[in-house]
Symmetry: C2
Subunit: 205 residues, 2 copies
C-alpha cells in the first residue's frame, strides 16, 4: 500500500517509529497520532527521555550493567556477597534475577550469547572481563544463568573452559519443569532432563 502522508513531518515520525522491533507502519501511525494529541511538554519529555538516556547512559565498569554511575548500585552495595557472581546475558536478566529476591551476590552482564549464526563471537561479549574478575581474586563461585538454548549452552561451555585454570567453582542454574506446570504440558526435553537431574527429596522443596 503506497501511503500518501499529508505531511512530511508526520511521515518522518512514522518512519522512525516503524523502525522499532514489532512496530509496523499502522501501529507507528497510531502511536504518532496519539503523541500528537498530547501536550507539547509531554511530547518533548518523551522525545528527550530517550535522547538523554543514549547520551548519558553509563555501563558499570565492574559488571557492565546499565548504570547512572561508574560503578552500579548493585556492585557498590557493601552488604552484597562479592564472592558470588551470576553471569547473565543482558540487563533484563539482571532485573529478572533481582526480582526473585533469592540472590545476594553480584552480576556480570555478557551482552549476549555466542551465536555464530548472528555473527556474535566470544570477543563481542564481556567474557575476557569476566576472566579478569576471577583472576583478580575474591570470586569463589560463578553461577551461569544463561538461556536454555543451544547458544546459551555453547556460551556456558566456552566460559567453563576459559575458567578451567582458576580456583573458582562454576555452577549453572537448574533446569526442569516450571513450578506450577503440569507434567502433561511440559516439553519432553525439559521433562527428560528433569528426570536425569533429579535431586534427593528431603521433605522440603
Amino acid at each position: 500500500m503506497n501511503q500518501q502522508y499529508p505531511s512530511v513531518l508526520l511521515e518522518k515520525a512514522v518512519d522512525e517509529f516503524s523502525k522499532l522491533p514489532g512496530i509496523g507502519r499502522k501501529t507507528a501511525m497510531r502511536l504518532v497520532l496519539h503523541l500528537l494529541r498530547q501536550e507539547k511538554k509531554d511530547v518533548e519529555s518523551f522525545g528527550n527521555s530517550i535522547i538523554t538516556l543514549k547520551r548519558e547512559v553509563k555501563y558499570c565498569k565492574v559488571c557492565h550493567n546499565i548504570s547512572d554511575t561508574e560503578v552500579c548500585r548493585i556492585c557498590s552495595t557493601p552488604s552484597r556477597d562479592a564472592s558470588t557472581v551470576c553471569v547473565v546475558e543482558n540487563i533484563r536478566d539482571v532485573m529478572a534475577v533481582e526480582n526473585t529476591q533469592q540472590f545476594n551476590g553480584l552480576y556480570h552482564v555478557l551482552g549476549g550469547v555466542i551465536s555464530p549464526m548472528d555473527g556474535v563471537g566470544p570477543s563481542d561479549l564481556q567474557i575476557d572481563s569476566l576472566v579478569d574478575r576471577v583472576r583478580n581474586g575474591g570470586v569463589k563461585e560463578i553461577i551461569l544463568a544463561l538461556s536454555s538454548t543451544m547458544e546459551g549452552d555453547t556460551t556456558n561451555f566456552y566460559i567453563f573452559r576459559k575458567l578451567a585454570g582458576y580456583d573458582v567453582k562454576v555452577s549453572v542454574i537448574s533446569r526442569g519443569i516450571s513450578i506450577g506446570d503440569e507434567l502433561q504440558y511440559t516439553d519432553e526435553v525439559t521433562l527428560g532432563r528433569s528426570i536425569v537431574n533429579r535431586i534427593e527429596f528431603t521433605g522440603r522443596m
Copy 2:
C-alpha cells in the same frame, strides 16, 4: 512486580514509552533497549522527529487535515473537485479514502465523532467550520464517511440536521458485506442492512 531499574534514566525512558497506547512495561523495556543499541545519531533522529512534528505541525485551515502548509496539498490541488466534500473522523481516514483512488473531491476532518460517553460534544469537532464551508458556497455534495457505529450514526444525523437549510446534497457511504466476505461469517446486522438496502443489479458491480 516491583521492578528495580539499574538506572534512573532507563526507568524514565521506559516510563515514557509505557504511556503509549498498547505498550506495556515489558514492551517499553524492549523498545528502549533496542534504541540503546542504535547509533547515537539514529536515536537523536528518533527523539527529534516527534518533538519537531509536535512543534511544527500545522492543520489545514480549510479541511483541518495535518499539513506542512497553511492549506494542505489536497485542498490546494486545482484538479480536485472542490464541490464534493468527504467528511471523515481523522487523518487516517483521509489516507484510507485516498488509498482507494476512487475519490477526487476534498475532505473535511472532524477530529472525532460525537460521543457523550467520552465527553465529546459537537463543539469539540469541526462541525461549525463544515457548515461555514457549505454556507460560503461552491459545495454541492457532502459525503458522510464516518464509522459505522452508534457514535458515527449520531454524528451523521447531527450534521444532516445542521445542513438542512442549505442547498447541498448529503450522502452517506454505503454499508454492506465487505467485498470478498463470505455470507456465513458476516454479522447479522450488516447482512440485514445489506438486504434492506439492496441495489438493482445491472450486470456490473
